[in-house]
Structure formats: C-alpha cells, structure tokens
C-alpha cells in the first residue's frame, strides 16, 4: 500500500449478536481498528442473513464515551481512578480477609448472562474452587 494508507484496513469479523437468546450470526465491520458497522452473517444456521434493529445497531454502544476505561475505588458514588493491578489486589485482599474472618459462605458471586461461557465457568471456579462457596448465581430468571 502507498504510504498515506499504511494504517488503512477493512475487514469483517464473524461473531454472534450480544443481545437476545436467539443467537443470530453477524459480521463486525472493522475499519482502521475501529468498529464501523454490522452486517448480517449469510449462511448462519439460525438467522441466515437476518438481524433485528438491535442486532443491526449492536456496535453503537461499543465506542460510547461512557465506557469504563479505568479501575475505580470509592464509596457513595465518589470514585477515584486507580491502577488495574492495585484494584485487583484490593479485591483479592478483601476476599481473603472475609474468608478468614467469616468463612467462605460469607462471600457471594454474581455471574452474567451477558458474558461468555468461559467467563461464567471461571466465576463458578473462583467461587467454588478458590473461595469454597456455592453462593453463585446470575439473573437467569429475568
């Protein structure tokens, strides 16, 4: 490519809609490293080239200026930004102290119907294996 277009690229990435449980196939259009749009995936076993308006616009929230880009520590809605590693240490310390002082069942974990199977599995592993409690659920009923 000529110099002026060195960073230029267009590609599409096959994935699944993040909204409802239908699981429609979609392609994310990526221009120069940014998501620019959505195309319905042709030949998908569920949706075969169709989407609803939510699917068609699923990329719009991704680049919202409201996205969290830093870890926050705070109380009563007053937050200050902290480094990621520091935030992780704070969480692990609090978890350890709670288990030591009150037992594993004083901890609870809420996984997510929005996250992947892999992430939900790890949340369950964190609760059951690392901490030692079965207090794990998500909003399956809503």
């Amino acid at each position: 490519m000529s110099d002026k277009n060195l960073d230029f690229s267009y590609t599409t990435v096959p994935t699944i809609c993040p909204y409802c449980g239908t699981g429609c196939g979609m392609l994310l259009e990526v221009i120069g490293g940014k998501i620019s749009g959505v195309l319905p995936m042709k030949g998908h076993p569920v949706s075969d080239g169709c989407l609803c308006l939510k699917g068609w616009t699923a990329h719009e929230f991704v680049s919202s200026p409201d996205r969290l880009a830093r870890a926050l520590v705070g109380k009563d809605g007053d937050f200050k930004e902290v480094g990621y590693t520091e935030a992780v240490a704070l969480v692990a310390d609090a978890m350890r102290e709670t288990v030591e002082n009150h037992g594993p069942d004083s901890c609870a974990f809420v996984a997510s119907a929005r996250c992947t199977n892999e992430e939900n599995y790890l949340m369950s592993k964190l609760a059951r294996f690392a901490v030692g409690t079965n207090n794990i659920d998500h909003c399956a009923r809503l």
């Binding site: 277009n5 096959p14 392609l27």
Partner: protein, 268 residues
C-alpha cells in the same frame, strides 16, 4: 482468468487494496486485501453469501482512504457502484472492477435481467431473465386482492431496518424513514403502507436489483418484487435504468423542464 490473477494484475498496476472475499470457518466474509494477502482471496464469489460490496466501498472511502482499490463485482454490484458514482458518493475513477458473471442458477434465482458486469473477468455470461415471473404473479391479482396482499406483507414488518441498512445505494444521513412526521417512532409494525411506500418510491429511481433487502428481511416480505415493479414503472415513463451507465441522470432527482410525464410537461 481467476480472481487472484486479476487481483495480482491490479496490484501491479498500483491499486492499494482489493475488496474481495475471504473464506474463514465455513463462511465467506468481505475483506480488503493487501498485496501480500492475495493468496487468501476466495477463488470464487459464493452464490449464497452475497454482501453489499458497493456499500462497503462507499464506507471505505468515507472513512478516509485516499488510494485506489480493486473490487470484485457482479452485475448488480457494478450497477450499485455506478449509481453511487453518479450521485457523488464515491469517485468511480478510483475503482478497478474485477468483473464476475453470475451463474445461470443465480440469475434465475434473482430473475436478474443483466447478471454480469460490463466487462467479465471471471465466469461466463448468461443472458439474463427479461420478465420477472414474481412481478407478473402479483400483477395478475385483482386490484383489491393485490392491495390486500401487500398490506398483509407490510403488516408483518418487524422494523429491523435491514432493507435499508443492507441496501448498497442507501446512504442518506437523514433518512425519511426516521422522520417522525412520516413514520411514528417505536411501533411494530411501523406505520404502513407509508413506511414501505416511502422506501419503494426512493428505490424507484435507485434500485439496482441486487435483492439483498429481501434476503435480509426476517419476515420474508417480497421487497425485491416490489422494487422491481417500481423500477419498471420508471423505465416505462422515463426510459431510465438505475446503474446502467454513468451519463444517465435520475429523472426523479432532476424534475425540470427536461422531464415529461404522460399527462404533459412539467415546468421548471
């Protein structure tokens, strides 16, 4: 010639990228290939996995690419590119087309009257279908029956906006389908027939008959049949075909003293 050979030739002539298809995990996805990626270009253009190539070209240019690109295009894709070029949406001179002729089977499925681009690099030419059986079938209905047929179709609309979103020649920043004075917000189905007729009127002088709208409709509304008829009317009245060549101007875009309707001349 194969798509890859032609792409190599275009890179040698100085294009900066080639928009074609890439096979990955059993599907074909649109991708802008660089010179070093030529071997990954899908050898054929998959019949059942068509994408709005011209719309993608428009978005690529819109995002700031200043170079030249090659693009794998069927007959309908080329018509869309011409239409976008005429309407100032893309610079047609920056494009080199790798022309792909559609198979007879594809042409029959589409009832396409011109299933090949102006120059064919890949595939062999099948002459096309001059009369759409689907349009004739709807036309053969009595007036009331035909109205009932379309109203029932429109009533099934789920307002996904897929017909507009996938359309390679739809590009308005402000879309009349989002004008609250014309179409109420938030209701399923959207107000009909106004929603669908607004689009049909828009398509009458623009539709290049790719049929992607109908393929993306979850309700299975026969939009292609509707727009084929709309463009037929424009062809009859004005002898105008969207996307046919760069010189013809859209009669609906240029109502003036040059345009005549059967009832008499319009004054500018």
């Amino acid at each position: 010639m194969s798509i890859r050979e032609k792409a190599r030739q275009l890179f040698a002539e100085g294009v900066d990228g080639v928009l074609a298809f890439k096979r990955t995990d059993g599907v074909c996805i649109p991708h802008l290939f660089t010179k070093t990626e030529v071997e990954e270009i899908c050898k054929d253009v998959p019949a059942d996995q068509r994408y709005p190539v011209a719309g993608i070209v428009r978005r690529i240019f819109l995002s700031g690419l200043a170079g030249k690109i090659g693009v794998v295009a069927r007959g309908c894709d080329e018509r869309a590119l011409i239409e976008l070029g005429k309407q100032g949406q893309i610079d047609f001179d920056l494009l080199s087309i790798i022309g792909v002729a559609c198979s007879e089977e594809q042409a029959r499925y589409c009832e396409c009257s011109k299933p090949y681009p102006s120059r064919i690099d890949v595939g062999s030419r099948f002459e096309g279908i001059s009369v759409s059986e689907k349009v004739r079938a709807v036309e053969s209905m009595e007036g009331d029956e035909r109205l009932a047929y379309w109203l029932a179709q429109f009533a099934s609309c789920l307002k996904c906006m897929g017909c507009r979103n996938i359309c390679p020649v739809c590009y308005c920043v402000e879309c009349s389908l989002e004008d609250e004075n014309l179409v109420r917000r938030g209701s399923v189905p959207p107000d009909w027939p106004v929603f669908h007729l607004l689009r049909a009127v828009d398509m009458a002088s623009r539709c290049i008959d790719c049929g992607l709208c109908e393929e993306s409709c979850p309700s299975g509304i026969p939009l292609r049949t509707l727009y084929k008829k709309a463009t037929e009317i424009v062809k009859e009245l004005f002898d105008y075909e969207p996307g046919a060549d760069m010189t013809q101007r859209s009669p609906l875009g240029t109502i003036g003293d040059q345009s005549e309707l059967p009832g008499g001349a319009f004054e500018a």
